[in-house]
């Protein structure tokens, strides 16, 4: 009983630490709410993203992925794209995560989760990931983004106009792609009548 409570307690402690750090920043450093919210959401997103790629139990990986997507939806709202945040919640959390969780339940073997989480190439993979992160950070910092500092905030109706006037051809292509994906998914996952169960 107590052992089951430990992860919940750890999660609560981490959340409390993040919130208190953000509150401290807000009070001591005098930053505004947008900054504090961005710090909290970034910490939650990166932390749960790390949990997705490192945890042993894959069901928990899937649940951490939902948290990661939720934090990213919050960041979208913070950046002035609320419709995109809603779409993130609907598409990623509502559809893709559920699909992945069902696939996890269909494909995991009965015994305990595999002892070896990573492949033998985990160390080179970690090095490659760090190198990628450093390269991206260097490129971002070294580039002068010029006049890209003026924020533009546009309403949902503007976005729908753009979607159905400028982007109507990609829109139709995406609908065909989704149809093809549905048919392909059903065909691939379908059980043959005489095949193995």
């Amino acid at each position: 009983m107590l052992a089951k409570l430990v992860p919940i307690l750890i999660a609560l402690v981490i959340m409390g630490a993040v919130l208190s750090v953000a509150a401290l920043m807000l009070i001591v450093l005098g930053q505004d709410w947008d900054d504090a919210l961005l710090w909290i959401l970034s910490a939650v997103m990166l932390g749960s993203g790390l949990l997705v790629v490192t945890m042993r139990d894959i069901i928990r990986c899937g649940l951490a992925m939902i948290v990661c997507f939720l934090a990213l939806a919050g960041i979208y709202v913070l950046m002035g794209a609320p419709l995109l945040g809603a779409a993130q919640v609907i598409v990623y959390i509502g559809a893709i995560s559920v699909l992945i969780l069902f696939a996890i339940m269909l494909t995991q073997t009965k015994d305990a989760p595999s002892r070896l989480v990573f492949q033998t190439q985990a160390v080179p993979a970690a090095i490659a990931a760090v190198v990628v992160a450093i390269l991206i950070a260097l490129a971002v910092v070294a580039t002068d983004w010029g006049e890209l500092t003026e924020r533009v905030r546009l309403a949902t109706d503007r976005m729908s106009e753009v979607l159905f006037e400028q982007f109507v051809f990609p829109f139709e292509i995406v609908s065909v792609l989704l149809l093809a994906a549905v048919i392909g998914g059903v065909f691939l996952a379908k059980r043959e009548p005489g095949g193995p169960p």
Binding site: M65, L72, S114, Q121, A128
Partner: protein
């Protein structure tokens, strides 16, 4: 911090790096697919950040629309990828990719 493009781009880069590590290192096929989703989300974040900080009039709407397209493609990719994993699992009885070695025998 929330009014600088660099912060969002570095955030996106770190998320992309986490996803690439997971894709390269995990043994479970579904974990690899989840890592791909993380990388797609990182790219979406970069697109939306560029759009939000662009001075052009329609930039934010266009960035949102492109991100929506990426989401649709990600949904299609997840569908087909998971169907393939399930089809392989039915034959090999394991979700671990380093045991999918039928072509090396």
């Amino acid at each position: 911090m929330s009014d600088s493009l660099d912060a969002y781009l570095i955030l996106s880069g770190i998320l992309f790096a986490i996803g690439s590590f997971g894709f390269l290192a995990r043994r479970n096929a579904i974990s690899m697919l989840m890592s791909i989703e993380l990388m797609l989300n990182a790219v979406n974040l970069a697109i939306v950040a560029f759009a939000a900080f662009s001075p052009a009039t329609d930039a934010q709407a266009q960035g949102s629309v492109i991100a929506l397209m990426v989401m649709a493609v990600a949904a299609a990719e997840a569908t087909v990828g998971l169907a393939i994993v399930i089809a392989i699992y039915r034959n090999k009885k394991t979700p671990l990719v380093d045991e999918y070695d039928a072509m090396s025998r």
